[in-house]
């Protein structure tokens, strides 16, 4: 079933490269110019699903719209495959896009919506019908061909939008927060469906979202952005386990930062001094910009901190907050350098502490990173 569509898409798919890409929006009414995207360099490999993730206003949409051609860059270049498309209008870039609002044509039937791109190409009738039929099958939209968009549910509209985007067999597929209009349950379902389909079609994709769990679940690579700059690029695992800086560590999941001084390397171990204790960190992480003798921080995830009785650990403090969530208990521990958040999963199996208790914390050495 629809094998050849899948094959075609796989073959046409190609990589994307952004070189020094920048976008400045001119000032409005005396306000300063907005640097929406600040000279970024980024490469999406063929067949890869890459996600732009970052807080609202960090330039994700602008980046996506420059690739689509709806915004003209203030500087830099964009390549699709080997071809520079910087000055190519959107309709000639061989890309496709799924919009946040789906942007289905309200005056056309589902069938006409889906085959729109083929009609524009003036494909012969039999080919058009055949390909449309296949995409309708692929997207499981059979039986809805004659309806109008306003007669479909959100999830179905989403699938139509996707069908319309893939039917033209683009080299790259762009998504701008396509799931944000769906309710939570459906969102997870569509997310998984989308990812499965993307893998199956092997189509190079760039996905924009501000939802970190969505980004983690769906991507081969995640790009963390902030104020128009790229903070880190990596697989979900790399991003979570080896964040490049405090912003990333805090943006993906939560992190505790314990101030310390970096002493230098001892074999594979990084040596840091924390008050008068010396620690050896087995996997310190990227360590960018940290020199011997400089101030830095131990970064540790709340779930990588263990709580033990006050006499059994090196760092001791007082429980200032304990919240029971069912799957976990979240504690806030006050130690000399500030509060530490600790998450204890599966609370039935571990000892409970309460506000006012004195406890010690123990760090799982392998989960500690050193950040500037």
């Amino acid at each position: 079933m629809s094998k050849d569509i899948v094959e075609d898409l796989r073959q046409r798919s190609s990589g994307v490269k952004m070189v020094n890409l920048a976008k400045v929006f001119p000032s409005h009414e005396g306000l300063g110019d907005t640097v929406a995207v600040n000279h970024i360099n980024l490469e999406i490999k063929t067949g890869e699903m890459m996600t732009l993730l970052g807080p609202s206003g960090c330039g994700k949409t602008t980046t996506l719209r420059m690739i689509s051609g709806f915004e003209t860059p203030s500087g830099g270049e964009i390549f699709i495959g080997d071809r520079s498309v910087t000055n190519v209008p959107p309709n000639k870039r061989d890309i496709s896009m799924v919009f946040q609002s789906y942007a289905l044509f309200p005056h056309l039937t589902i069938y006409e919506n889906i085959c729109y791109g083929l009609r524009v190409q003036k494909l012969p009738k039999d080919q058009l019908q055949e390909r449309t039929k296949k995409v309708i099958e692929l997207m499981e939209l059979k039986g809805m061909e004659n309806r109008f968009p306003n007669q479909l549910s959100g999830g179905q509209q989403q699938r139509v939008a996707l069908a319309r985007a893939v039917i033209i067999e683009p080299k790259v597929l762009l998504f701008d927060e396509p799931l944000s209009n769906l309710d939570a349950k459906l969102r997870e379902h569509m997310r998984d469906e989308l990812r499965a389909l993307q893998k199956r079609l092997g189509i190079t994709s760039l996905y924009v979202t501000h939802d970190q769990s969505e980004a983690m679940a769906i991507s081969d690579k995640v790009v963390i952005m902030k104020d128009g700059n790229i903070m880190q690029v990596g697989s979900p695992q790399e991003i979570y386990e080896f964040p490049a800086n405090r912003f990333v560590a805090n943006f993906i999941g939560k992190a505790n930062f314990i101030p310390c001084v970096y002493r230098g390397m001892d074999g594979d171990y990084a040596v840091v001094a924390l008050a008068d204790t010396v620690y050896k960190v087995p996997k310190p992480g990227v360590m960018s910009g940290i020199e011997a003798g400089s101030e830095c921080a131990l970064s540790v995830r709340p779930e990588s901190v263990r709580l033990v009785r006050a006499d059994q650990g090196s760092i001791t403090g007082e429980v200032t907050r304990a919240v029971y969530y069912g799957s976990k208990v979240e504690y806030e521990i006050k130690i000399g350098t500030g509060p530490i958040i600790v998450e204890v999963y599966n609370p039935q199996l571990s000892e409970r502490f309460y506000e006012g208790d004195r406890v010690s914390i123990a760090l799982d050495d392998a989960c500690v990173r050193i950040l500037k």
Binding site: P26, S68, P90, N91, F99, A103, H107, V120, F148
Partner: protein, 561 residues
């Protein structure tokens, strides 16, 4: 916009030759048919016999006490009509949008009638009722010295003609004032009257301002009514015509036209760039859930009474003309006859046919051009967009008299020799009637999610295909308004075409004017009745065509489901 950005936009445009050519083409026609004639009007007014600059005629005209009086006459008329029309329009708009008054559809219909009716109709009616042979003055009251001609009749006729303009403007404003503000005030115990004074009225002030300025412009531009009913009360538009055609003083008439242009342009600029901007701040926009409107008897019935009274006047005026078309000579020989209609359908049919042909040709051009310009200025990026926007809606503020003078002067020699042809008339109609379509298209487009068109583009469609397959169908309603407006205005235009018609291309409005000048009132009435019928039929036909062309199936389905 920064320079490299602009350059980059331009290079992107170079890659879309069809779009680029369209933009250049539109710029070219805007310059030829709007900017150039306007410049020529000034050149004509300020060129001395030696061909150099000269303000001699200007000084001669503006220092003439007679013409000074004409100027103040025109302003006074505009001011009075603006106040009365806006007042009546506000009552209609308020009663229809904010109360549970019965008969809303009927009142809405009454308030649309003057917009779509031919010129001269109300003046004619006033003459039939109050003239020397008038039904009321002569037959009922037995006065034979009553002078119907003058400021009073003119104010009455223009007020009825233009209160619909105020009504439409104010309906939009009143509909978009958030009900919840009023509700909140009512719930804390304020009286309805107090709320109206402290909330509703202040919020609708920008709308009132807009309405007054728009009516003011209409009153100044009006040629047909003052031409036949002003008597000795001279106004600029008519005086300019008389000076040119009666005294053969082209330059003097042109100066009067320029003097007329200045207040209309000012009013237009104030309306557009000052008041309408304010109204965006005060009006929240999104309609909230339907709530019960004002229904207290002591509010609804007085409003109903006022609307009924105005409607009665409108019906009386139109009914009189209808009756007048079927009598031999009004007031003299009131026997029933069809001879006036027979005359129009035989000897007098050419002007009507010409009007229909030219209106039918210019309306689609004007409508399509209007939608295309709206699309370009809302959706595309290019250098000079603001200039395109401004010059394309400028004609709304250019009195027909001015445009007419500009056209004869611009198109009377090679390579733009158009005088005496149908083309010059079609061009006048097209460009004069375009602004309303542009406005409707712009407003609609701003409400349509732009990603719908982007979805078409990213699917491979160029700007032209996107416009044809997506934008235009979505603009169906605005396109329809633009078509109807253009058609009606083309059928009913007087001031712009009075200089442009030729023996070969005479038009029905000019014919009616001629009948007026020779006091053949019943003949004029027959023309008017026929034109009303044609216009109504055309609106129905346009509606049908637009629906057929851009099958709005999704609307039908959604409602029948």
């Amino acid at each position: 916009m920064s320079k490299p950005q602009r350059f980059s936009n331009f290079r992107m445009l170079l890659n879309q030759p069809a779009l680029l050519l369209t933009i250049l083409f539109i710029f070219a026609i805007l310059i030829i048919f709007i900017i150039l004639p306007l410049i020529n009007v000034f050149r004509l007014g300020f060129t001395g016999p030696d061909g150099g600059f000269s303000a001699e005629t200007f000084i001669r005209m503006v220092s003439d006490p007679g013409y000074q009086k004409t100027f103040w006459n025109t302003m006074k008329l505009g001011g009075l009509v603006a106040c009365i029309s806006t007042f009546v329009g506000y009552i209609f708009a308020f009663a229809i949008t904010r109360t549970e008054m019965p008969g809303k559809r009927f009142f809405r219909g009454i308030a649309t009638l003057p917009i779509i009716s031919p010129p001269f109709v109300l003046s004619l009616s006033i003459i039939f009722l109050f003239g020397r042979m008038g039904l009321i003055t002569n037959k009922l009251l037995n006065i034979d010295s009553f002078d119907v001609y003058g400021l009073g009749s003119l104010v009455a006729v223009q007020s009825v003609s233009f209160f619909p303009v105020a009504f439409l403007t104010l309906t939009g404003i009143l509909e978009s004032i958030d009900d919840s503000v009023e509700d909140a005030a009512y719930n804390i115990g304020a009286s309805r009257w107090h709320i109206f004074r402290t909330v509703t009225l202040p919020l609708s002030l920008p709308g009132i301002g807009s309405a007054m300025l728009l009516v003011f412009i209409q009153s100044l531009e009006d040629f047909s009514n003052p031409a036949v009913i002003a008597g000795n009360y001279s106004t600029l538009s008519v005086e300019a015509y008389r000076v040119i055609t009666g005294m053969y003083d082209m330059q003097g008439g042109t100066i009067l036209a320029i003097v007329l242009l200045l207040p209309t342009l000012t009013a237009f600029a104030v309306q557009r760039y000052w008041i309408s901007r304010k109204s965006f701040v005060t009006v929240t926009g999104k309609p909230t859930q339907k709530r019960r409107k004002l229904h207290e008897k002591h509010i609804v019935w007085p409003l109903f009474g006022a609307c009924s009274l105005v409607s009665a006047v409108v019906i009386l005026l139109y009914g009189t003309v209808l009756a007048g078309a079927f009598v031999k000579t009004w007031g003299v020989n009131n026997t029933f006859t069809l001879e006036h209609f027979k005359y129009v359908f035989s000897m007098g049919w050419d002007p009507v046919k010409n009007s229909i042909i030219l209106a039918a040709v210019s309306a689609p051009i004007s409508g399509l051009l209007g939608m295309a310009i709206a699309y370009l200025i809302v959706r595309q990026k290019f250098f000079g967009k603001k200039i395109m926007e401004f010059s394309s809606i400028l004609t709304f503020a250019i009195p027909g008299t001015v445009l007419g003078i500009g056209y004869i002067f611009t198109f009377n020699h090679e390579p733009l020799l158009l005088t005496g042809t149908a083309v010059i008339l079609v061009a006048a109609f097209t460009f004069r009637n375009m602004p309303v379509g542009i406005e409707a298209g712009t407003t609609t487009l701003l409400q349509i999610d732009r990603s719908i068109e982007e979805a078409s583009t990213i699917s491979g469609a160029g700007a032209g295909t996107t416009f044809r397959r997506v934008t235009l169908p979505l603009l169906r309603q605005a396109f329809f308004s633009g078509l109807v407006y253009s058609f009606v205005k083309a059928m009913t235009a007087v001031s712009a075409i009075i200089f442009l018609i030729s023996p070969k291309w005479n038009l029905s409005t000019a014919r009616i004017f001629a009948l007026f000048e020779s006091s053949q009132y019943s003949g004029a009435a027959a023309y008017i009745v026929i034109m009303i019928v044609i216009i109504l039929a055309a609106i129905a036909l346009i509606n049908l065509l637009v629906n057929l062309l851009f099958k709005p199936k999704y609307l039908k389905r959604a409602t029948t489901k």
